[in-house]
Amino acid sequence: MKRSIKESLVSLSIITTLALTSQFTLADTPTWQDTLNQAKGQTVYFNAWGGADNINDYIQWAADRLEEDYDVTLKHVKLTDASDAVNRVLAEKTAGKNTNGSIDLIWLNGENFRAMKDNALLSGPFSQRLPNYRQYVDENARQSLTQDFGTPVDGMESPWGMAQVIFMHDTQTLPTPPKSIAELLTYAQANPGRITYPEPPQFLGSTFLKQALYELTEDTDLLSQPVDQVNFTTITAPLWEYLDTLHSVAWRNGQTFPSGSEEMIRLLDDQEIDVALSFDVSAASVQIDKGNLADSVRSYVFTQGTIGNTHFLAIPYNSSVKAGAQVVANFMLSPEAQIRKQHPTVWGDLSVLSYNRLSEAEKEQFNDIPRGIATLSIEELGQTLPEPHSSWVSALEKEWRRRYAQ
């Protein structure tokens, strides 16, 4: 009797310990199934730029699918700029609202990510525990998956898609487009008023500056270093010299600049300019389809390659539905969602999944994606130039505004 009590006590304590530890590990790293259970019935407020109909439609499609499969309600809060959302999280932190934040998921990259990460406005790390991330994303495939404009991602955001700068031209008015920064200037000199670029600090405008810098500066390796560790003035001198010349023969004499890719596309269609830029590789096909561009418009890239980057989804620190947000991020990484996203008339955004990790059937589906008449293939897109360190953006923008916006 005595023994048995002792035995049972021991076994009890063992059981308790086990139960305790298992509970402990559960609380520490819940399994994906736990996250799925927790996410059921949650409403995720997804703050994402809402300026493009086709992207909004895609998000709505994802919302329907998430409702069906996971019982997660995805609400798209349409922003004009990701920084609106960053500001809102900051306002909430100011007011001490550390739970139940208004934003559960945010679409961002680069500077906005760095600002949020540096000011502890993000929750995580979470991306590496997403099943689809583990299965399909190869971190070594691209530097931009782990270095967002040079800021280490550290699992604080989950990749969503990849973008690369492309140029568009109307083959009717411009059969052989300029394929380098230098040729662009030559063309502008021969055809005054037909070349321009978006106004920095609009991100595409800043990207144009980086693109030009890559082609004009001698030692491109220096660009991957933080800007305060190199000689900014010497490195960027050729860039300003170039822009001085370009502006004198640019659209509206370099006195105003388009606000972004959308305005450039409009100007291209109005025939005010001859070359438009976009960060969206299928922009031309999508806009032709919508009747916003002539069907003689085609995309192209520079011979030496163009700047490319990855855009991400992140979860603010004060979201109350982090499980739901992770389920959304995971779904967005599924082959189903990524294949649909890459569809040129849906969105045309490049997949972040590693092709080799896909099943044969999924590979087949990727191969079957129609390209759209004005979309370049992966091979045609050629080499992707990496983003310089994120500190360059602000330095270039400041200097640009100092020189040209006063």
Partner: protein
Amino acid sequence: MPLTYPRLITWCIALLLMVPIVVGLISTILPAFHYFPPLNEQQLSFAPWVELFSQGEFYASLKLTLITGIGAPIVSLWLAFSLLAWGYQRPFFRKIEALLSPILAIPHAAIAIGLLFLLSPSGWLIRLFSPWLTGFDRPPNWISVQDPYGLSLLLALTVKEMPYLLFVMLATMKSIKAQESLEVGQALGYSRLTLWRKVLIPQLYPLVRLPIFIVVAFSLTVVDLALVIGPNTPSTLAVTLLRWFNDPDFSMRFMASAGAVFLMLCVLLVIVGWELSHLLTRHLTRSGRSNGKRKGITDNLLRLGAGVGVLTLLSGFVALLLLPIWSLTRRWRFPDSLPSQWTWSNLDRAAPLLLELTTNTLVIALFSTLFACAVSLIMLETKRHSLASRHQTTNNHLFDWLIYVPILLPQVGFLFDLHVLLIYLNLNGDLSAIIALHFMYVLPYVYLTLKSPYLAFNEGYLQQANRLCYRPWRNYLHIKIAMLKPALLTAFAIGFSVSIAQYLPTLIAGEGRYSTLTTEAVAQAASGDRKQVGSMAMLQALFPILVFWFAQFIPSRWTRWRLAIQKWRI
């Protein structure tokens, strides 16, 4: 209104308004002195100011802001006076009056996009004459919009502000007995325009002073209009500040806050300067006004103004008419003067969202405007009380100034801080928060529109009614409110359209969870797609236009309908 404790009510409402305003004000000012705990900055310093004053872009933006912000009100005022002097009580002018409301109703961003399409080198004006007259197969490389001097911005501001001023002036015409003065003056041999210049405008100006100040403040701080049609190298100060506030580098916030405080001071200084120059002008023209001359060269200024005014109105209208065309367009390239392919798909795409957007928009506009009307009536009644008891003609209590603070402050910084307050109160993201914030922006316009007619009301009618049958509330509603119906409905219509046009307050208080036609339109304007903007702006303008139309249509028929219904009942 038979109020029991007028003073107490005044103070309660004033206090209720004061809290958000003071909080917003203080927390705009503190970061300007480097105090912002969330970023761990609690050391007061002048560093943000030093930084601000070292920015070349600040001075360039400021110059532009002053040019457009002072130029536009002056031009608008000149054109509004001219049009009024030229057309007042002439039959065709009535038609122009009826056409003012669409321009008042349409949101700024939409009209800017319309004007941009009208005037740009690839715009409709040039398309109309190309290539058969101009020889342009492709748009010329002109700078006809977004010009570095801000002239196109000035025009856009004028297109939007001149109708507002004209509208306000028309509403106050009764109280200066214009008709009588004109008849007497003309019998004495004065020409029409001279009479206006010497007699009527000097009487009218003090009555429309506050609307003018609102216009001045608006021109100096406007963001959406300047974003679309203003120059961008540099932009106006308000746009530059917005960019600094939104910079991912949070340390820019301090400089931006300093800039916001500076802009606020600018608004105040410009208004003071405006008033001083008015005094000066009045002094200088005093002898001229009483010299007895029946005609003068300066009459031509009014004549010219009327011509320019008609042109300005016209360009506003054409810009408005172009938007619906865009919403039905599939292909419309330079130099076609009309679309080459038409489609319903732009509207189809907008359709599924419409129900939700429209409901939100209407609920917010309706409630905020109704509240604003109610509060304005109460405040005006207490004001009437204090005026009657002290036998003063001008007595502005605190409230009169307080309500203008929200429209005088640059929205960017002020609203960020209000948002923080809302979060503290746990009201963020709520429909009631949006309505409250809209209320703050609607109230000044409603109050202002209602003020002169309400105070000018001949209280004798009400007193007589009360003597005959003492039912103060019923008599107040059936006599005073009924007689003030046109003014009330006009005030409601203005408030309604102000609410509909609000972008930042909706976004910030609603945290983007409540979309309205305007937030959707501005989000799409970000893409610059004229087709989408066209369809959204059309819808956005639809309701205010309807309400304005009702405001003009109902009062004149109300009594007839009421009597008809009564007869039918009997």
